[in-house]
Amino acid sequence: MEFLTQMLGADVARMVVGLIAIIALVSVNALFLIWMERKVAAHMQLRPGPMEVGWHGAVQTVADAVKLMGKELITPTDVDRPVYHLAPIVIFLPVLLSFLVIPFSQTLIIRDMNVGVLLILAFASLTVLAILMAGWASNNKYSVLGAIRSVAQTVAYEIPLLITLMSPILMVGSFSLADIVAAQERYWFVLTQPLAFILYIVCATAETNRAPFDLPEAESELVAGFHTEYSGMKFGLFFLAEYTNMFIVSALATIFFLGGWRGPFLPGIFWFLIKVYAIIFLLMWFRWTFPRVRFDQLITFAWKILIPLAFANLLITALIMKLR
């Protein structure tokens, strides 16, 4: 009995410390990513990007965040108040929780669950709920359109996302992220599952609502989409969630296909972060290169190309696993 409470205590303490660390990581990561995004975009467009605040504008995003926090929270008159206020929180919390199961290194994992993947994916699907809430509650026509698009998009993309992830899972035989990393001791899964990797990256881009799949917030069509009516830190939370989401999908890609924290010389955490940011760079690279796809084309693309290919990949993997 005593043993059990002690264990529980340690576990709870671990959770609390972990959550605090996560919040810190999330904020720092978002600030860094926004700066990185601006720099990447700028250099691709032959301009320097932020240069004034700090070394090459490194503290610019901190200044922006402070500005956002200091801003007045404007609530438009005809919004559906409870839902309107709830949406930014709903989008942000699940994102935080997803960090619980990510193995940053061999030991740096808050809670290794045997259904880690499912947890992350389940939380990720909550995002769409928040977007729907935000879009509907804003009582703005552009927002509603953005919300509608977002729902349709997510429905179309969650399926191939899951199916593509099934192939590595099948190879490992476990839903636990730590196990999946452990299984890549000899080679990374990107070598045996290149198609799954590509499909996953495409789905991940869509999942995070980033260009070329940024339909819910398509600037040139829907002004700002679902967060048109949000200001100040509420808008900030949407922003934070977007960039944290990016981190999570990239972390998943790293864990599933790039061997997680594995790598020579450096400690695991460094390898993990290097790989994650490399994937994030890839996502940014997409955003600053491609035009936006059209709404119906996106759905067609998902159902006609992504899902068949993902299924084919899964089938072949299953076949090979069976034969071996």
Binding site: Q45, T289, F290, I305
Partner: protein, 173 residues
């Protein structure tokens, strides 16, 4: 079926080609100018607002207050007053352009019979009030002369409202 895969591959390839372009530019040096720290020089014909040409010989302007520029200006923005300094000669006592109305068409510069006007290379033209954009060319000329250490061109006083004969003669002296 073959078409289906071909389309996917061609599409995929085109996306890669696009990404190759952006990554190539990513490594290129930037082309923009960091404005307050670096500045460009204006091209020789750059049209700022108008200003007086300073004649190298006489070290003053050449305007004879003929009002040609005033008349041709599409926006009628030149407020010009001439004073007869002697029997033949007339000099401007007031030449103010309301720059906010200027369309930089160049008609005033071209029409001037003595070629007294030219374009300045001023491009920092911002102000807080409407009056800030009113430019007094005669004062500007004096500033330029002062900077070069040349004698300043006095701004002749316009005639008072009721021209008293005695004062009129004074001017003529």
């Amino acid at each position: 079926m073959i078409n289906y895969f071909k389309e996917i591959l061609v599409g995929f390839w085109s996306l890669l080609a696009g990404m190759a372009v952006t990554i190539r530019y990513f490594t290129k040096p930037i082309v923009t100018v960091q404005y307050p720290r670096q500045k460009l020089t204006m091209s020789p014909r750059y049209r700022g607002h108008t200003e007086f040409v300073i004649d190298e010989e006489t070290r003053t302007h050449r305007c004879i207050a003929c009002e040609m520029c005033n008349r041709i200006c599409p926006s009628q923005l030149i407020s010009l007053q001439g004073v007869k300094v002697d029997a033949k000669k007339k000099l401007p006592s007031r030449y103010i352009i309301a720059y906010q109305y200027c369309s930089l068409c160049g008609l005033c510069v071209e029409v001037c019979p003595t070629k007294a006007l030219k374009w300045s290379d001023e491009y920092l033209l911002c102000g807080f009030t409407r009056e800030d954009s009113e430019i007094d060319l005669l004062r500007r000329l004096q500033d330029q002369q002062y900077a070069k250490g040349w004698p300043l061109t006095p701004i002749p006083r316009p005639k008072p409202e009721e021209p008293a004969p005695a004062k009129g003669e004074e001017v003529k002296e």
